[in-house]
Amino acid sequence: MTEKIRENYILSTLALVFVIFLTGQASLLFAIPPGYAAPLWPPAGISLFALARGGWRYLPAVFLGSFLINYSVRLDYPTDIQLLAPAGIALGASAQAALGAFLIKRLLLIPSGYEHVRILFLLLFLGGPVSCVLNAFLAPSVLLALDQISFDDYSYNVLTWWIGDTLGVLIFTPFMLLCAANNQRKISFKRKAIVCSTLFFLLLVTVGLFKIIFSYESSQKEQYLNSLLDRKAVQIHDEFELYMNTLIALERFINSSDEVTSQDFESFTVKFLEEHSSIKALAWYPRVLHQDRDQFENYIQDQGYESFEIKERIAKGELMRAREQDEYFPIAYIAPYDTNEIALGLNVDGPDGYLGKTLTSVLDKAKETKKPQATAALPLVQNENELGLIIYSPVFDDRYVNRDISDPALRGFVAIVFLVNEVFSDIDIGLPIHAELLITEDYDGGKVLFGSDRVTKLYKDNALDRKYHMLFKTVQEAGSGLNIYLLYDKAQLSLSYGNVWLFMVIAVTFTFLVTMLVFFATGRAEAVESLVEERTSKLETANNQLEEFSYRTSHDLRAPVVSCLGLVDVIEMAIQQGNKKQISESMEYMRETLAKLEQLIVDILNLSKVNHLDERAHEVDIEKLVKNAVDKFTHMEGFKDISFETDLQVKKITTLETRLITIFENLITNAIKYKDPEQEVNIIKIATREEDGDLVISIQDNGIGFPKETEADMFKMFKRFHSDIAYGSGLGLYTVKKSVDMLDGEIIYQKSSGLTEFKITLPMSFTGTSEA
């Protein structure tokens, strides 16, 4: 590899990497959020084209370009995957481009050119939909293996990948054709400009419409999802409203008399419990001062709960008699009793060995605000395996309501207990199939109140947005903040933009078809134009030649006639004068002149044969042909003085025989006619040989040759150079040149070591026609 080629290769590789990266970034304009599935991925087309045209040496560039673009897209991935995933995808992209290029190259072995419509569409089919299947499977497999997508998302990824790459190949095809055809025959700047501007314009329109359609679709969708979220919030609020109302009723009931018994409490609450199954318990926590503790315990025991005492939780499942405090808020009554028996007597204001904290702050807040206050989710004494919420509502003695909080006006708390899972799960809001709800407490480290294991895990890992498109709302219920998340699987949401996908497929296909139409139409127009141009120029040349021919022949034919007329006058006068010498001299001149006239007519006829004789190529015996040509001139003056040397290494050729005869005869007769009288021996060498698969005919002589300054005009019509030596019509070499041109050959004149040479190169097998 030379320095220059290496430099070019490095430059083109860098350019390719850059273009792949740039078009990849640009195509993210078309990505259908919230995923990054782009329904149009031109790097696929560019890579294919680079390998099909530039060869396998561009594989590293394809890999690098693909790696960089995927690396930039996946920057938020975990570090180890940040490199692995793009590398895997880039490997797939390179393999896919290589496969496409291989298929195309195999097909192009059939020489028909890109412009052939049938071949073209076959190419597109192979390079596009067929080979794009490869990475459509490989890339998502890499992501699946690296655990970046779930198995559910696999098919979605395969589909979007395939569409993106296929459309990318499709849209890049017109460019590909422009460059490819450029190599075979020149494509005008005008045509390139028309095709490219059509493509760019349609792409621009596509981008514009895509943005409009997408933003419309997405706002519709967002609106719909938000309405679902609102509905959920309203439902939760309704549920809490019910609890609040229950608490108010309970508070009023407690305040309705100084002496509410366990039995009263049970019969009052039974109706609520029956109607609302989510309520696990309703309870009354009276305020008991330490000095009244024994009296209170006796009071409850007297109502049939013989083992009653004020208790506290010291560990999971373990309760003991509450340690001494200034005051207690124990559960005096709880309904339904059967399922909550264990909680009876539990002092809510006391230390909790299991929770590791007291609920004092919740109670204080309820006292302060005089409003119901919910706890954070906590394991209940009566069901420690599940999270429950308790809402405490303070009960004040009506008579002391506006006193200080430490005032004995606080009689205690009524509370409602429920399991979080039951409260939030049984309310259906008609979620779409790929959406789910997550409800959490609204504080740092707040617990998940509701949600599937998968989303709970992602929530705890703070990684929800990698997989889900999130909408959320914070609501305040019973003094506590709740976050309601509506989570929509990004991949599925992306796919749910069916209209946008459909639009892109139609728009890109339309763009492709229109651009191709423009490409072919301009090509046809240009072909017609260039054909007309070519024919016109041929006609012009033919016309000019004809004009010159008629001008010259009129002169050259007339000249000998005129001379003869002059000679007749001279003879007439010589007869009158009896000048016999002049008569015979004139007669001799007349004979000579008429012979030249005859020669001219023969030459004109030969030339016309070269142009118009209809003839088919067939195998010609060169040896025989040369012998005949030489024999034809044995009568010529000085022929016997010439030494002919022949060296025919090639003896057969398939060509138009008459034209070949014309070439040999003209060159041999010239060589005889213009021999150098000063040479001791006049030599004419005729040789044939093969060079690069072509036939080379060499006719050399040591004759007078051509003056240097006339060489340029040598093959022009009616050019004579040695009229003092011998007569020539000026058509011989012109006829030779015409014949050589007709046989798709070349003729050059050269001098070397005292010899002049006409070197003719002809194809071994002539495949053209004899049409001029």
Binding site: G566, F721, D724
Partner: protein
């Protein structure tokens, strides 16, 4: 009288020479085969009359005139041509040194023209 005949065709040289010898007394005719040879002769001698053919190899009649006029303005040149094209006649007569244009063959009728040219020359 000294005459130069510039003509590549031997026949036409013969015709002009014979014509001059038949119709003029005491005439010396020299011949040149082409323009180059003629230029050389013109350099060496003065001629009373020059017959100049147009179509010649190496140097045509017109090229000869272009070269000749560069050096000195000669007159008494009679162009001879077998062409019937008017353009050629017009071009020939556009040269100041060309006195006449005669279509070949040279005939008795042309004697008057030649003589008048010679007379003009004498009068100068």
């Amino acid at each position: 009288m000294r005459v130069l005949v510039v003509e590549d065709s031997k026949v036409d040289q013969f015709l002009v020479v014979t014509f001059l010898e038949n119709f003029f007394e005491d005439v010396t005719v020299e011949t040149a085969n082409d323009g180059l040879q003629a230029l050389k002769l013109c350099d060496e001698h003065n001629y009373d009359l020059k017959f100049l053919d147009i179509n010649m190899p190496s140097m045509s009649g017109f090229q000869f005139l272009d070269n000749l006029c560069k050096h000195k303005c000669e007159s008494n040149i009679i162009m001879l041509s077998s062409s019937l094209h008017d353009e050629e006649r017009e071009k020939a007569l556009s040269y100041r040194c060309v006195s006449a244009y005669i279509e070949k063959p040279l005939k008795k009728e042309h004697l008057d023209v030649i003589k008048s040219i010679l007379k003009e020359d004498d009068g100068d």
